[in-house]
Symmetry: C2
């Protein structure tokens, strides 16, 4: 007799990392409820990639939550939302000290909070998030301390936590290099040609060309090279 | 020369507690950015009260964020959103053990997360929330442990926290009885006639009649009696 699959909420952006995390959750047998967000991001075309990854990987449900209001509230503080006067930095070393202008205030806190509401409703075992603190741009809400703090919050904030069965936060990529993430995903059959990492893409219908020069493109390009996996990304020019 | 006022984000529901918290933040000289949420609540008329309190108390800005999607995601788990098949419990002892059906999964986590995004954008000193763990219905996300956990999260999740100037969480009502809250607000000139606590009100234009029997009405009614302050609430019947 098959054991009952447990539900999970997976935060799915349409990028390389979250597509990998989705594959890991599915490999564990989770019934995945994928959650994506429209928050006024420049690269909203990533949601088309999220939809296709959700379909490819056989999720149980996929919700795209409209947080349009968020973009206008934080536009003055981040380059990553459409209409911001800040520019997406190009051709820099992503790991240089400091937090770049593409940082979006409290974004992962908000995404996980939404995930927590859905996870408790679904009686899901866990929430999966593709944060990575090795090949990244120094965002505060991608670090182990952030994940630990949110896990503690999830424990005290919910009925499930009170009842001694807290919703867990799974961040399986936290300590992996980008090339290790790509290797792991390739082993699990992830089609990276249908993921989009670029912060500043050129949209073409339901797909996009990556700029090749933002932090996210730099990390992705380097990751494929180091993994020895052909880079399927379509770049501008 | 006047000292520069600092900005604050105040979570404003239109109820008795958050109206009091708003008055306390204003008394401290904060430039208040009030934040309210439309999340499919049965008592969405509370937002008209929030708008009026924001005007009366001279806030700098007031945003009503649309989280309509939240209601549909959590409807099966809470009686508090419109369309739920669960009923708002009536005429019970609010402090009885257990968490009632009016609990909304992760609600305060989500509201504070939104507040955190705005507070970091505004360079606000703090986020104010009217939670109370004494005369309450046992919601997990109204307890001191929750506030402490969110404060720690705010410290590690943000640029401000990294830079050593974390956004603080102010919950000045946490350890007060309802009658003490009412006394405090009355001293600060809060007009409680223009607040709405009821979970299941009867709407009349931009105002509403309170049911008088839900937990929130029970706590409010008792609070006015114990404070020795005339209860200005208009009840049904």
């Amino acid at each position: 007799m098959a054991t009952a699959e447990r539900a999970a909420v997976v935060l799915l952006s349409g990028g390389l990392d979250s597509a990998t995390v989705l594959a890991l959750a599915r490999a564990l047998g989770r019934r995945v409820h994928a959650l994506s967000f429209r928050y006024g991001q420049r690269h909203a075309i990533e949601l088309a990639y999220a939809r296709r990854q959700a379909q490819r990987q056989g999720v149980t449900a996929h919700e795209i939550v409209d947080l349009a209001h968020l973009g206008s509230l934080v536009a003055s503080a981040t380059a990553l939302v459409a209409g911001s006067s800040l520019e997406v930095p190009k051709d820099r070393e992503p790991e240089q000290p400091g937090i770049p202008s593409t940082y979006v205030p409290a974004r992962n806190t908000l995404f996980l909070a939404y995930g927590l509401a859905w996870a408790e409703t679904l009686d899901a075992a866990d929430i999966w998030i593709g944060v990575n603190a090795l090949d990244y741009s120094g965002y505060p809400d991608c670090r182990p301390a952030f994940i630990d703090a949110f896990a503690e919050l999830a424990r005290v904030a919910t009925r499930r936590g009170i009842e001694g069965d807290p919703i867990r936060i799974e961040a399986p990529l936290l300590h992996l290099a980008k090339h290790e993430i790509i290797g792991l995903g390739a082993d699990h059959g992830v089609d990276y040609a249908d993921t989009l990492s670029c912060y500043d893409p050129v949209v073409a219908g339901e797909h996009a060309l990556a700029c090749g020069h933002c932090d996210s493109c730099t990390l992705r390009r380097r990751g494929f090279a180091e993994a020895g996996v052909p880079d399927p990304t379509q770049y501008v020019g």
